[in-house]
Symmetry: C2
Subunit: 299 residues, 2 copies
């Protein structure tokens, strides 16, 4: 082993646990990943799961900082939501100490936005935004189970909007008449594009979803194209509604996994937005965890 | 027993089988209903299921006419789709003889609409439209698992649009994070109205669905209100998109069950359409089956 860790950071979501080991300069020296999201770990098993995955990183008892669904009611310890507008100092001040025999530990707060028109929350994405807060104003899109569109203005998170895109796709695939129709097949870019274009041209999302079935019944779509078409309809609807809300002004950036960012970039290009840079979600999480941890020195 | 039946009609859908016994004047003298939709009856069991439910109605071997999903690929015998525009004569000409030892029998065709922008099909609703075809031009809304908006012009079905509303609600309730959050409770008209109003004001349906969760997390909605709120969001989105497509001109009529028509009428009223008469779906099915059968005399 080299030098001892100066921080263990965790992006601990509903379906996945990703750990980062930092050196004293804030560089990530190692990463570990496990399908040990809070939905997979039995209640009360969070400490054991973290200890097992972190292993010898825990030597020397470095501080531990967790973000994501682990701070939800179903997680290890419920932490508050910081209401918008929320900047780095607000989020650092809302870190919640976590009692654990593994050492000094904290869980990050989430962010909420409550307006007359809508309630919104996020947990984990706020940490990924921290490195971007210092930069240009704009909108950050974080695709996933519950995709987020996050407005950054003047160094603060000022608004957010969630879409059920990923969960809707998975649920319809597993438990609907559309899933019963799907045949396995390779990703089909043409069927995906067709779905995106349908949604960009038509606001009736719950109709376009179902139309996948009629396309097959009438012979215009093959059963092994249905998954890609439905993915296109759902991502296309999110891009349509997200762009409508954020308007043509603000720059847009994607933060997430390479695969999902590729699909979203494709859909955004079909909507006329080709100027969308991409940032790795893991890198953004590590960056945000390190930033948040700086306020903990000596805490 | 009174006089022998002159026709046995069946509205045989995915989840339900409803039988009508007609006298020689076309009056319904008896009805029977069973949860024996084509998804419940094992393959090959359709004849036995029909015989068991019809019972002594079969004495004298009256003609039998079936409509609905029973004519789909998963049904008893696949019948064609008649493309729009489709009138009563087109549908009568497309009746498909059904070989069965129960007597002379036919299954109705479905209706399809294939445009560059969209594929649409229906089975069963076309029969319910027949009695209305003779009347005023307009749009008929048939709420359900896959709701239909059907355009009637000049005595023909000229266009249709399906919405996944009912299946989406049931799937999300049984298999999503929203369902996990729901607590049982009485129907909540205020929560339903709130969901409808959200959808009428905002096209981002897949975001509004998920916002139900944040409303609970932030304390503005109780867990036993989530089902009504989600129902409002989904029905509201359908009404918003359906009205947008049909425009302010054509009269609208509801055809379906009393419970669903009540919810749709409420949502339409919130959208400014208070002039929406209601027709019982069972009555419309019986009426349509009798009309279709008249072409079969002596066949």
């Amino acid at each position: 082993m080299g030098e001892a860790a100066s921080l263990i950071g965790a992006d601990w979501g509903n379906t996945n646990l990703r750990l980062f080991c930092f050196d004293a300069a804030g560089r990530v020296t190692a990463e570990k990943n496990a399908p040990q999201g809070i939905l997979q770990v039995p209640g009360g098993g969070f400490e054991a799961a973290l200890e097992a995955l972190a292993g010898d990183w825990l030597e020397g008892s470095p501080p531990i900082l967790l973000c994501g669904a682990i701070g939800s009611r179903q997680g290890w310890l419920e932490t508050p939501y910081v209401p918008c507008p929320a900047g780095e100092a607000d989020l650092a001040a809302a870190l919640t100490p976590l009692p654990t025999r593994l050492g000094r530990a904290w869980i990050a707060a989430g962010v909420s936005a409550l307006t007359l028109e809508r309630a919104e929350t996020m947990r984990g994405e706020e940490t990924k935004m921290l490195g971007l807060l210092a930069g240009q104003d704009g909108v950050v899109v974080s695709p996933g189970t519950h995709s987020k569109w996050v407005r950054l203005e003047g160094g603060r998170i000022t608004a957010l909007r969630s879409f059920m895109t990923g969960e809707l796709f998975a649920t319809l695939k597993a438990h609907s008449i559309l899933g019963a129709l799907m045949m396995p097949g390779p990703d089909d870019p043409d069927a995906f594009d067709l779905g995106v274009l349908r949604s960009l041209a038509d606001p009736a999302t719950t109709s376009l979803m179902l139309a996948a079935r009629a396309e097959v019944l009438l012979g215009r779509l093959a059963p092994d194209q249905v998954a890609s078409f439905l993915s296109g309809v759902l991502i296309g609807a999110e891009v349509r509604d997200g762009l409508l809300e954020c308007g043509p002004g603000p720059p847009i950036r994607l933060v997430g996994s390479a695969g999902l960012m590729g699909l979203y970039a494709r859909a955004m290009a079909l909507a006329g937005r080709t100027d969308v840079p991409q940032t790795s979600g893991d890198q953004a999480a590590a960056d945000g965890l390190w930033r948040l941890s700086r306020g903990l020195v000596g805490a």
